[in-house]
């Protein structure tokens, strides 16, 4: 017992402040992209996922991007990745980065905010990805991040959940389980698509084995990344319930 107490003392208090000024992705990390329009052809040709469009309406679709950096390596004069981690959006279209300002995720309406703002329980369904998104959701539950202090927790049953957080491209083999989980949740309920796979299929877009999130399950929050950094996930969830502006 005394050893456990000594270890506790040595390990110290390790929960990070959030949000706090100056928080950024690591120096080599790839965050919010910045485009320099008009010279995107070379960068677009380098993207293996068609996430970059040159021409009339240039844009980088963060929903399809797996943040591999191939475009910025091929044409550093056209695309730049900043260390900004606030990447979440409320609409699918808002994930497309153009030369206009990026519109960050908005919070739920006042009614839902009153319901979920102080206590928000999430059921996570893992549906065909590589399990890195799951790992970065799990990390939010460790003492370093302490998701619980914001009143947000992962619930063991859909019956106890206010929100559904989906990861993976939704394989055909998981489609039914996802539908059943959603149906088992009581209304009102919100849906979060976490990671490039859940948003667009990610690296598996177009695979015949993948079905995607069915249209009957409407998404309220998009968290881009492959996988998204825990900072990005936390920021998105807290924005959704109106805990950060």
């Amino acid at each position: 017992m005394i050893k456990a107490l000594m270890a506790r003392w040595k390990q110290g208090y390790r929960t990070m402040e959030f949000p706090s000024a100056g928080l950024m992705l690591p120096p080599r990390g790839l965050g919010l992209p910045k485009l320099k329009p008009g010279r995107l052809e070379k960068a677009a040709a380098a993207c293996p996922y068609g996430a970059l469009t040159a021409g009339e309406k240039p844009g980088l679709d963060m929903g399809r991007c797996i943040f591999c950096g191939a475009c910025a390596n091929a044409a550093p004069e056209a695309v730049e990745f900043t260390r900004e981690y606030k990447l979440c959006a409320s609409g699918r279209g808002a994930l497309v980065i153009t030369d206009e300002d990026f519109r960050r995720a908005e919070s739920l309406g006042a009614g839902l905010r009153r319901l979920f703002g102080r206590s928000f329980k999430l059921r996570q369904v893992s549906a065909g990805g590589c399990a890195a998104c799951e790992a970065d959701c799990n990390v939010l539950q460790t003492i370093g991040w302490d998701l619980g202090r914001f009143g947000v927790q992962f619930a063991a049953s859909p019956r106890h959940a206010d929100g559904l957080l989906v990861t993976g491209p939704v394989t055909k083999n998981m489609e039914l389980a996802l539908r059943k989980t959603y149906a088992a949740m009581s209304s009102p309920k919100v849906v979060i698509a976490c990671g490039a796979c859940a948003i667009s299929g990610g690296p598996y877009a177009g695979h015949e084995e993948c079905a995607g999130i069915p249209p009957e399950i409407p998404v309220d929050l998009y968290i881009p990344g492959c996988p998204p950094h825990p900072l990005t996930i936390l920021d998105g969830i807290l924005r959704l319930i109106g805990r950060v502006e």
Partner: protein
């Protein structure tokens, strides 16, 4: 034919007459060989069965192949380690292994197959009952379906049905390498990005004949060992959590993140994405980064030591860990288990030693155990110490020079077997090229492919309440197995 790990070879020379093929395979497996891969290669209307066998003691690989037009002789009755390979051949190519005890689907990807709906092993009798869980579980984890066949609290057998994560990866390599191939490898199992990424790069490098510069090899070693440190530390924390020993659980959960952040310091991604490229690596370390990494490694390792030592000194932890989920050495060898799980049962296989190359020349690590949860935990602690020592040594003596070499076209009609000791165990990528030097077939064997059956064995005669603990002590990948 004999093959060297990590060098391309002429595949045509591996062909044998069918009867000789099965005799050879059986005699080699009986004399200490272990199947690294066994699959059906499409050839026009027909198929060719290909088997790669590893001889761990000599660090040698042999490859045999034979034409197959229909049913073939199952070797599973004599060599249980082949059970999943033969089922996979049946599911993927429709060739029936005659005499296989049970051709239960693996990935439920054939027309009409419904995931989780298949014949499964059942136990009958009064007071026998069945508990079903999944595919959606209570925690934030991957999907799988489990059925416990029980008598009271006692588990006679655990039926495991997976396939929910199947997203059609292997066939997407065919026609490559292209801009996506490496990403497929990196996302085979997200927590093994470096392991699978390296196995892929190794195969491409072997087929193109490029030599990876020494500095790049060491940088890869650093990343692979960081991956091992993060996952082993996380596993020890999760094991502590499952026996309700919260101090070690919460310390290790945080420390795992510290290792991931060290990985991110090198390449920007906590999982090592974008670090590797065929021919070398994308990121180098300068003096300042080396200094920072050394400092972080020292501090984090010290904290891990203090957190993990609590486990061994706490009676209630030892009481739950000891004698729970025992897998005997015979069973581990028979099933072809790999990685820390096998080492905890006393099987001396470690790719870093048995098939050592690059930065692992001269690698040694003696491990043995009694096959219970305690051994599987303790082996991880031994490996954590070794990985920290390796990284510290490499950071002190990083060779100068470039970190990448130009990787040219792949040799036509060739093959390569690439092995890497990922944190879960041996990873095998078997790449074959066609006449144009493009992938004609690509076979992936994740360590979990071998090890899931080990978990079922560990549960035999245990209690349902032992399941979370046994499961964590294996911590297998669903996506790596389902592909």
């Amino acid at each position: 034919m004999k093959v060297e790990h990590l060098s391309g070879f002429d595949f045509g020379a591996a062909e044998l007459d069918p009867s000789i093929f099965f005799e050879t395979a059986a005699s080699r497996l009986a004399s200490g060989g272990r199947a690294l891969a066994y699959f059906a290669l499409p050839e026009g209307e027909a198929h060719r069965l290909v088997m790669a066998v590893g001889f761990d003691r000599e660090g040698r690989i042999e490859v045999y192949s034979t034409q197959a037009y229909g049913p073939f002789r199952a070797l599973t009755p004599s060599f249980p380690q082949l059970h999943l390979f033969e089922r996979e051949i049946f599911e993927q190519a429709g060739l029936k292994p005659e005499g296989h005890p049970w051709l239960k689907p693996i990935r439920f990807n054939t027309p009409g197959a419904v995931p989780g709906v298949a014949d499964y092993f059942t136990v009958h009798g009064s007071q026998v009952h069945e508990v079903a869980v999944g595919p959606v579980h209570a925690g934030v984890i991957e999907p799988g379906h489990f059925r416990f066949q029980c008598h009271g609290e006692r588990v006679f057998h655990l039926e495991i049905m997976l396939g929910y994560q199947h997203r059609g990866l292997e066939k997407k390599f065919i026609g490559g390498p292209d801009g996506r191939s490496l990403h497929y490898a990196e996302t085979l199992a997200g927590d093994t990005t470096i392991g699978h990424g390296w196995a892929y790069c190794g195969a491409v490098e072997a087929l193109s004949g490029v030599n990876v510069p020494p500095r790049a090899q060491i940088l890869r070693g650093i990343m692979l060992e960081l991956e091992r440190l993060a996952n082993h530390t996380g596993d020890l924390g999760a094991l502590a959590g499952d026996v309700a020993y919260l101090p070690a659980a919460s310390f290790c959960g945080r420390l795992r993140g510290d290792f991931l952040n060290m990985t991110a310091l090198v390449c920007g991604s906590r999982f090592g994405r974008n670090m590797l490229r065929p021919g070398g690596v994308n990121f180098d370390l300068d003096a300042a980064l080396i200094h920072e990494l050394k400092l972080r490694l020292e501090n984090t390792f010290r904290d891990v030591q203090s957190a993990v030592s609590l486990l061994w000194e706490t009676g209630s932890v030892a009481d739950r860990f000891e004698d729970t989920g025992v897998v005997s050495k015979e069973a581990a060898e028979g099933l072809g288990l790999v990685g820390p799980v096998a080492r905890a049962s006393g099987v001396g296989l470690d790719t870093r030693r048995n098939f050592s190359s690059g930065p692992y020349e001269g690698f040694t690590l003696g491990v043995s155990g009694s096959g219970d949860v305690y051994s599987r935990a303790y082996v991880r602690w031994l490996e954590i110490q070794k990985s920290a020592e390796l990284i510290a040594g490499w950071l002190d003596a990083l060779p100068a020079g470039p970190v990448e070499a130009e990787c040219g076209c792949l040799k036509a009609d060739s093959a390569a077997v690439s092995l890497v000791e990922g944190w879960r165990g041996q990873i095998c990528h078997f790449a074959l090229t066609g006449p144009g030097g493009k992938f004609r077939h690509y076979k992936i064997v994740d360590p979990s492919f071998h090890n899931w059956q080990g978990l079922a064995l560990a549960l035999r005669n245990g209690e349902i309440s032992d399941f979370p603990l046994c499961n964590k002590s294996f911590n297998l990948s669903y996506c790596g197995r389902d592909l």
